[in-house]
Subunit: 394 residues, 2 copies
């Protein structure tokens, strides 16, 4: 038997216990829970085959009561002795995409971000569209290109047309960007024709991850009228490997900013699901931004209620992201297009003036929140490196 030690101040204490999918040499991917700097093999430790699967989906489908029970089981297990062979150092395992993604939806829930992008993309119009304060604006993205942290990102090619150019040209994106977001993973699906209310959020949503919604701004700005972003986003979306259970986020729950006008009844929460999550963006190892999730105008419960109010069904593994997290200050902006004001105001990165991503650049987004034990818990990070365009398709 092994006794787990959790380093002082660890972001992965007993009040966190995030789930992931990991593998070790010669063994198939399976579900693990992170405790301190260790990964506990749950199939082995708990003897339950639902954890011997390569995704969290079968476990998530078992529902909220079961999530609570397993969390108690794990707490008991890791407080005592864990069977030999069920504990691996986190540095010795490979982490995989933790869930099979169903539908992927991306919202646009930061007022600061939406107003900044409005000013940049539509300088002659009001920064916010008339609908923005009435509903959480969102759209569907490509579920099949969601990848786990650490996956390299090949610079996308596509049609780009700068304002002064007569016709579009084809080639690698010249304005490759990031979007620092939080993502929410549906655990218990809902039937077609059965909207999920705001207050059912915690019953349905299993947990949260960090999302980097890579964005090719030049492709996006040419293609996006009138049906929205498509190829400017669909080449890759990265998520962090650890799904932090919503059960671990009770101490992070805060009010959302004042919502004026008052939302329609289906968007009202008995108690708001704002989240006091601190995010940080590192560009080639240097911190360039600290987006505050607590500034988000719409809560993830409101996003889920909106997404299903028309009767749309949900499935275990559906992922919906918040949209770029930006605060009111310049150093709190979660996308480089905002941080550098469309490329016009470079930021210093390791002594260089930088605007958009160059080949070889690496971005890591991390996040922490208050835990229920008085300290903080971590989401880990989502990391990705930009590789040169392959030129295929030209």
């Amino acid at each position: 038997m092994t006794t787990l030690t959790i380093p002082d101040g660890s972001l992965f204490g007993l009040d966190n216990l995030p789930y992931g999918v990991f593998s070790t040499p010669g063994a198939a991917p399976r579900v693990g829970v992170r405790v301190g700097d260790s990964v506990v093999d749950l199939a082995r430790a708990l003897g339950d085959d639902v954890f011997a699967r390569p995704t969290l989906n079968p476990f998530m489908e078992q529902g909220h009561r079961r999530w609570t029970a397993v969390r108690e089981q794990i707490t008991e297990l890791v407080s005592g002795d864990v069977p030999d062979g069920a504990v691996h150092p986190v540095g010795a395992v490979t982490l995989h995409l933790p869930f099979r993604v169903g539908d992927y939806v991306d919202f646009y829930a930061s007022e600061h971000h939406a107003a900044n992008l409005g000013r940049l993309f539509r300088p002659d119009a009001a920064p916010l569209m008339p609908n923005w304060k009435h509903l959480p604006v969102g759209y569907h993205g490509r579920g099949g290109t969601v990848v786990v942290s650490g996956t390299d990102i090949v610079r996308p090619c596509g049609q780009r047309k700068a304002p002064g150019e007569a016709a579009p040209t084809f080639g690698p994106s010249r304005r490759l960007d990031i979007e620092a977001e939080m993502g929410f993973v549906v655990g218990t699906g809902s039937e077609q024709g059965s909207p999920v209310s705001c207050d059912d959020f915690a019953e349905r949503v299993f947990g949260a991850v960090i999302v980097n919604d890579w964005s090719a701004r030049d492709i996006q700005s040419w293609e996006y009228v009138p049906l929205g972003p498509f190829l400017g986003k669909s080449f890759a979306t990265s998520v962090s490997p650890w799904v932090v259970p919503l059960l671990a986020l009770e101490a992070a729950r805060v009010d959302t900013p004042v919502q004026d006008p008052r939302p329609l009844p289906y968007l009202r929460e008995s108690r708001a699901w704002g989240l006091d999550v601190d995010m940080a963006v590192e560009w080639n190892g240097q911190e360039v931004s600290r987006p505050p999730y607590r500034e988000m105008y719409w809560s993830p419960a409101q996003m889920l209620a909106h997404m299903t109010v028309n009767g749309a069904s949900t499935r275990a593994g559906d992922l919906y992201a918040s949209g770029t997290v930006s605060g009111p200050e310049k150093g709190q902006r979660g996308a480089f297009i905002e941080l550098t004001w469309g490329g016009g105001e470079p930021v210093g990165v390791n002594g260089e003036e930088r605007t958009f991503l160059r080949d070889g650049d690496e971005v890591a987004i991390s996040a922490t929140a208050p835990g229920t034990a008085g300290g903080r818990i971590g989401f880990g990070e989502v990391r990705g490196r930009v590789l040169p365009a392959t030129g295929a398709g030209e």
Copy 2:
């Protein structure tokens, strides 16, 4: 042994052989092929377990060479005697969603439709956006709400704001509409970072279905800026139960309309994949439109090349639809918003003046094309009935 008889003039002759998933009382859903008015149980007739599955995905994943070989096997089989118990009258089986949907993309490839909607949604601007003739405009829809023909459609609720109203209200859509489209089913997926060229279309795409992309126009027109349609579409998308193999559409292949300006190289086809498919829309049993697919500006091969040119991967079961098929004539428009010009010019249906869908209305969209045997082949139909809003979520 049973000898199959194919009625004279059947749209399901030996030059069609579409695949579906069917069940009979007490037996699990499995793959069948339609011949005349019969469904042949392929697992039983060919003794191959890949057809004993509830979706076409495992068979589609086997690739183009295998699709060709199985088509030859089936032709041989149904020309002779078929094992007893492997043949069912089509009226005696239940038809299911034939494939597990991965990502769902909806294009906007009819110039007539895009121009009509431009005039209706943005009366003060040019009907086509500047990008429209440079790329097949498209966006992601909700894969999880794709349903098979015959599934009832509950009228969606949502936020609606008419031009004269000060604020949005919540309630059932008052402008529920259809969109008659063709959909293309990816059979062999492609890797992230590996664009699919136009000329690889037939290697990758397994077949085609009819699509009804139900649309709540009042929800859509309020929500769609700036990120595109979302809840106005995501409540349901219906597909026909038979997937007509691309191998059956050789005689339907025609040129696309002249494309001016000339598309960028990645959108050029050695030989165009326009399709001479005749569609028909019935509203409560009365034909109200005959959309001509051959009028579509962009081909499905160009759509696939565009969708992947940024390196986005594809999977077996990915569905992409053409967008509403509308021809130049009024009687060729594939959506009621166009057919009735925003509701201002009602059409006569069974003696009534009609604009948008009422509860209890039923819409059936059918399609046929030239077959390789000199006659025509059928796609069957996609049918759906509108049920009243449930009021849930209000």
